[in-house]
Symmetry: C2
DNA sequence: TATTGTTATACTCTATAACTATA
DNA sequence: TATAGTTATAGAGTATAACAATA
């Protein structure tokens, strides 16, 4: 199970390196829109789930729940997101994306696609799909290992 | 060039997620050996380059040079690494891995391989090689974009 | 004048503990 | 009693600026 010695080391290092490259380029691209990567991820989640609580989003992003407060504050201040109390459980908020939020999300997606095209330029379309497939399987195992259910209809 | 909409977003997110998973598991595995991931990466570089300066390593790891000071201090204190002045340029140190350092490196590699086997369990050997190949091409483009030459004989 | 390594300091990011309001 | 959200505070990690030695 061990191929050339050091494959895992190299693979892991390149993984981290490529990941931080992606994140940095995305951060650069989103900055002019007044968004950080996390804001974008929150919007992306809310773009597919109608309504989510802060805890749900914190869990999925592996973020401390206290960090969600300022994060949602930011988005609410920009009117990209709304806080309404969940009638079923008045302790939680039912966070919802606004129409303006969807517009920002669309722009941010364009940025993200451009960054992806730049970083993954050496790979053709078939390879990118294959990469996404492999990563999907790896991360499915991760989520299963956490025994955590999906959010909404699917894992964003 | 844009496949299913949002592919880049998902790909990027899973990339970051998988990368931090790898890093966390590696950190857990190395902790009992008194090493952090960065110590390991430094040892891995020195395991293939005979001698490197602090600046060279900082550049390759995309780390602030000031952070290398304490990092090398740690490794030197454990006698895993030696600082000797570079005779060719007495401003720099020629950092060299020790015999004890090679032993630690070997153990750390075992840990890293185990972590890799765990995280990439859903992928068979051919897929892992393919993943490594694709990542290698992507990161080669990254380094070329930086116009930075290789360190020693190869990019670790 | 520029570069390597060093130190001290300031800054950013994150987690912890304590609180409220609901359940 | 436990959970969602909030606040203030402490801690870790990182970068910045100024310095000494060498080029």
């Amino acid at each position: 199970m061990s191929d050339p010695p050091g494959l895992s080391v190299l693979l892991g290092f390149q993984f981290a390196k490529c990941g931080s490259w992606l994140e940095q380029r995305l951060a650069d691209g989103l900055a002019p829109h007044g968004l950080k990567v996390r804001h974008f991820l929150v919007l992306a989640m809310l773009g597919e789930a109608a309504t989510l609580s802060q805890q749900q989003m914190a869990t999925y992003l592996s973020l401390d729940p206290t960090l969600m407060v300022a994060l949602i504050d930011d988005l609410e201040r920009q009117r990209l997101v709304e806080r309404t109390r969940d009638p079923a459980d008045r302790r939680r908020y039912a966070i919802r994306i606004t129409a303006k939020g969807r517009q920002s999300l669309a722009k941010a997606r364009t940025v993200a696609d451009a960054v992806g095209d730049e970083v993954f330029a050496p790979l053709d379309r078939a390879e990118r799909r294959q990469l996404a497939d492999m990563l999907g399987r790896v991360m499915a195992a991760y989520w299963d290992g956490r025994q955590s259910g999906s959010i909404g209809t699917a894992r964003p």
